[in-house]
């Protein structure tokens, strides 16, 4: 082979390796897919964030004991994606209860300025989040930026007073490690993972 050919071939191999690495081994082309791959691989410990529940009581986001926590980030005035996510979460709750899984579910508002306790209660009533297994809460303004950065939640103002954001169901294992992120409708895989964690 000519020298030029050998150089080019080397460059192609290096380039292909580089692109392979840059897509996490051809698994992630988007930031959202990358978030999911990287969460599963690094399993970061969830910092002691505190959320404010429906009764105004504060509690930790991390699980108590032998419990898996499923978190999704929402804002309550959302007309579309959070409503779907809310419906999905309700369906997920029903299935988890049917299977008797030790799970706590939290819908957490990332917009504490707009979402007062009454808005959160409305949202909870609308989707049947009775606080038993599934409750609705909001982040403390002090934790807001850190939490969004840690969970890699990105909300973009949509120009109509709402947001478009990367909705997902996040799993926190009993040790307080963030272990996975799934599509909100991906029931089978979520429940299988919860089963395996508990």
């Amino acid at each position: 082979m000519s020298r030029a050919g050998a150089y080019t071939l080397t460059a192609v191999v290096v380039a292909a390796t580089g692109l392979y690495a840059a897509t996490d081994g051809l698994r992630a082309l988007t930031a959202e897919a990358a978030r999911r791959v990287q969460i599963q691989e690094t399993r970061p410990a969830v910092p002691p964030f505190v959320v404010e529940g429906l009764q105004g009581r504060r509690h930790a986001l991390r699980p108590d004991s032998n419990q898996v926590v499923m978190v999704e980030f929402i804002y309550t005035t959302c007309p579309t994606i959070c409503q779907t996510a809310g419906g999905d979460f309700a369906a997920l709750r029903d299935r988890a209860v049917d299977r008797g899984l030790p799970v706590r579910m939290l819908s957490v508002s990332f917009d504490p300025a707009a979402d007062g306790l009454s808005e959160l209660r409305d949202y909870a009533d609308r989707h049947g989040a009775d606080g038993d297994v599934w409750s609705v809460a909001r982040l403390r303004p002090a934790d807001l930026q850190d939490a969004l950065r840690f969970f890699r939640v990105k909300a973009v103002p949509d120009g109509w007073g709402g947001y478009q954001h990367n909705a997902a169901v996040l799993l926190i294992d009993p040790d307080g490690l963030l272990v996975a992120a799934y599509d909100t409708g991906d029931f089978d895989r979520i429940l299988a993972h919860v089963e395996q964690l508990s």
Binding site: T8, A15, L19, L29, T30, A31
Partner: protein, 188 residues
């Protein structure tokens, strides 16, 4: 001298476009990216290159462009200051420059192949961005993503005209092709 000035102007334009790029993926990908690339490409045109290195330079340039076309790179450039800086450095120096050093100097068939491939890649991107049921970039709204998809199609259309018209008419808007024709006539 002229080239350096023009290249600096392009780079300056890219910096000016940054606030727009943050809000609008079309400005980001179809305005800021290209001017960054062009600022390096112009410099590359003037650089001497060993013939053996044209292939690797071409691969380097294409890979760098490919990397920045990944939706996650687009997001990363907005979310992380390090990636933002990397974009400003690598698009001119690792994409534009090596392409400027190689593309005008490879054979006509290979160059035509690269043009045809970039048209189909723009088509693929248009396909994906305009019809994906998901948001591809976390930083942008889905409507803007669809606009970007349409933008790719317009760009593909524009480029195909720019590239096909000279081939059809037999005289070129592109200086390097003109040069080749002149050489051909000298031979005859």
């Amino acid at each position: 001298m002229n080239t350096v000035l023009l290249s600096t102007l392009c780079f300056g334009a890219a910096l000016v476009l940054q606030p727009m790029a943050r809000l609008d993926p079309v400005a980001h990908m179809l305005l800021q990216y290209p001017v960054l690339g062009v600022s390096g490409y112009l410099l590359g045109l003037k650089m001497p290159t060993a013939p053996d290195l044209r292939g690797p330079l071409l691969v380097l340039g294409i890979t760098c462009v490919g990397f920045w076309m990944l939706p996650r790179s687009l997001d990363a450039a907005l979310d992380s200051p390090g990636m933002h800086l990397a974009k400003l450095v690598t698009l001119p120096l690792l994409a534009g420059l090596p392409l400027g050093m190689s593309v005008p100097r490879v054979g006509a068939v290979l160059r035509g192949f690269l043009k045809a491939q970039s048209l189909s890649m723009l088509g693929v991107l248009s396909f994906l961005y305009s019809h994906a049921p998901i948001r591809i970039c976390n930083s942008y709204l889905i409507e803007d993503q669809q606009r970007l998809g349409a933008g790719f199609l317009w760009l593909a259309g524009g480029l195909s005209l720019l590239w096909a018209v000279p081939l059809f008419l037999g005289h070129s808007l592109m200086p390097d092709l003109l040069l080749q024709r002149k050489k051909h006539h000298d031979l005859c």
